[in-house]
Amino acid sequence: MFSISTEAKVGLFVLVALIILGYMSFRVGEYGFGLKKGYIIKAAFENVTGLDKDASILVAGVEVGRVESIALKDGMAVVSMRILPDVKLERDVRVSIKSYGILGDKYIEIEPGTRGVSSLGEGEEITRVEKQADIDKILRDLGTIAQDVMAVTASLKKVIGGEEGVENLSAIVRNTRELSDNLNKVVKQNDEKFSVMVDSLKNAAMQMDKTFSALSDITERINEGEGTIGRLVNDREVFDNLDRTVASLQDITDKINKGEGTIGKLVNDEETVENLNASLKSLDRSMEGIDRYISKAEQFRTFLSYRGEYLFDTSDAKSYVDIKIQPKQDKFYILGVVADPRGKRTVTETTTGGTTTRKEKWERDELLFNLMIGKRYKDIVLRGGILESTGGVGIDYFAFDDTLKFTFEAFDFDADRDPHLKIYGEYRLFKHVYLMAGWDDFISDERNSSPFAGIAIRFEDDDLKYLLTSSPIPTK
């Protein structure tokens, strides 16, 4: 029979036991092994009651270290914490003492700081320490609150607790019940009366209906212009005026009605009525005229502008005088004259024997005309019409609250030549004063192309505005 020696038995037994011991030590002291390598950081707390050596240090609930020691320094409890070497704590972490449940062990909670902030090193101190919630203080506060509540209930008890209070309460309830009973009675008793009321209301409504239909009959006839009132109504001007004057007339008529004296007789006199009627009409006309005049004048804006341009390559100067009439915010007309040193071009074609001779002639001292309509869409203005006495279009782009303007114009379209294109920018230097620079006729095939710079003066002219808007008032 197979047998093992005493020594083998003992050896095997001891070996097994030591393996168990090793396993248990490892599990229990699991932390102890890696931790001795960790680094120490410190934090000074006001109060560390209940915190023991080897208490856990948690970040987001994960254990990252243990309390190494607690020492007293300048009245503060300085806690040294051993943190696992592979755990990095930012310099702005917040540290606080917490407990597992209300009666549980204390531990240190570290709230992570901002990512990217440099990490704490060996022996450094966490500066952001949060006060520990003091259970004693909480309990004391709770006690105070309980006392307050008790005081309130006690006074409440005084009010409604005694026999008197109970009586009062029941009296209130009794009164309320009586009140509702009475209300009920009132409603029941008046039930019939209510229905009678509703019926008569219905009748009234029916009669109103009839009245309205009769009224509409009358108004129809008035619309058709029958009778005095019809005529009066169809004359819109009078109607409008009436509307406005009725209020003041009400006042006067009231007085007249009361007067019954001289004015009363005056009113009854036929002649007076006619006279009054006539004068009212004329008054109304003038009122409307003033109305139109004012509203137009308010909308209308007129601008006068002078513009001088110096063309570098041709050493010439061009002058513009424009009136810009702007009846609406986004709509305008431009009227202007241009003094161009090149003058006005006239073409004469003569046909002799099948060949056409074409003659161009420039008249130097002729003025050119601008006549344009334009419309503005936000920052872009499109305009077109007659530009320098030829057909043309322009586009303006406004920037920086209208202080800067870019303009492109194209005019003088001719099948034989390139059109006259002009591009320039305009900058508002001061109020009313503008500087500009650009390129005139830049695709010219007649050596007319030239960069230019200029100055413009532009202002709003109110006198001109009133001159334009004051249309003649018709008078009788």
Binding site: K9, V14, L18, I20, M24, S25, R27, V28, G32, L103
Partner: protein
């Protein structure tokens, strides 16, 4: 007057005999220490005792450890349930086993099993004059009989305690997690959180001291047996009683010193 003097007389005699006995035990311990370091070391005899004290006590220790752990888990569960802290059952069982119950229960079981056997064995050898024969053969009985037993006990008790601790925690785990449905994770986590290496090792130191006590007392009682078979029986009983009492008393002081 006479009766009082007799009572005092008896009391004084008891004190004296106890003090004398303690002195004798101490002397035996000193001579054991002396003979322990004197070569040649009787390795074979030590192993034999180790097998007897250690290996053959496994079943007893495993059973007591396991069931102690299980009953601890069950009892503390009812207590902790009142605070909704059932997961603390694990740490309670583990702490109790490693610090107290493991070493003490193992020591008591080994006392009952091996300590008594030592007393009986040596007592029989004494009354059958085999010990005298050893003297005649110029073989020191302390070296041949006592040193191996004490060395084996001091060495094997911690080993047995490890087994007892482990089986106790396993028993507690079985009851707590399998039967009482305590969350396994927090059960184990609380064990590792609250049990320190110190708890484990101090328990083992205690066990070694208990091993010394039980073997020393057992050997002393057996070595100083007189009065035939009856004397052997008395020596065995006394050895077990004295060892157990000494173990429990010294347990308190050891705990006070170590923790």
């Amino acid at each position: 007057m006479n009766r009082i003097s007799i009572a005092l007389d008896n009391f004084g005699r008891a004190v004296l005999s106890n003090v004398e006995e303690m002195g004798k035990i101490l002397l035996l311990f000193v001579s054991t220490l002396v003979w322990m370091v004197r070569p040649p070391l009787k390795v074979r005899l030590i192993f034999k005792q180790m097998e007897f004290v250690g290996v053959k006590s496994i079943y007893v220790v495993v059973l007591t450890g396991t069931f102690t752990g299980m009953v601890l888990a069950l009892q503390s569960y009812y207590g902790f349930r009142m605070f909704s802290a059932e997961s603390l059952v694990g740490s309670t069982v583990a702490l109790s086993m490693t610090r107290e119950l493991g070493p003490v229960l193992t020591a008591l079981m080994v006392t009952a099993r091996a300590g008594s056997a030592m007393a009986a064995e040596l007592g029989t050898m004494r009354v059958t004059e085999q010990i005298d024969a050893l003297y005649v053969m110029a073989a020191n009985p302390v070296k041949h009989l006592i040193v191996p037993r004490i060395v084996a006990s001091v060495f094997m008790l911690p080993i047995l305690t490890i087994v007892s601790d482990f089986m106790g925690i396993m028993g507690g785990y079985f009851v707590g997690v399998t039967i009482l449905n305590i969350n396994e994770g927090s059960f184990v986590r609380n064990i590792t959180r609250y049990v320190d290496l110190d708890d484990l090792y101090n328990g083992l130191i205690k066990a070694a001291v208990f091993g010394l006590i039980l073997s020393l007392v057992g050997c002393y009682k057996g070595f100083n047996t007189s009065g035939g078979a009856e004397g052997v029986g008395r020596a065995t009983t006394e050895a077990v009683v004295l060892s157990s009492i000494t173990i429990l008393i010294s347990d308190y002081f050891l705990t006070a010193i170590m923790f």
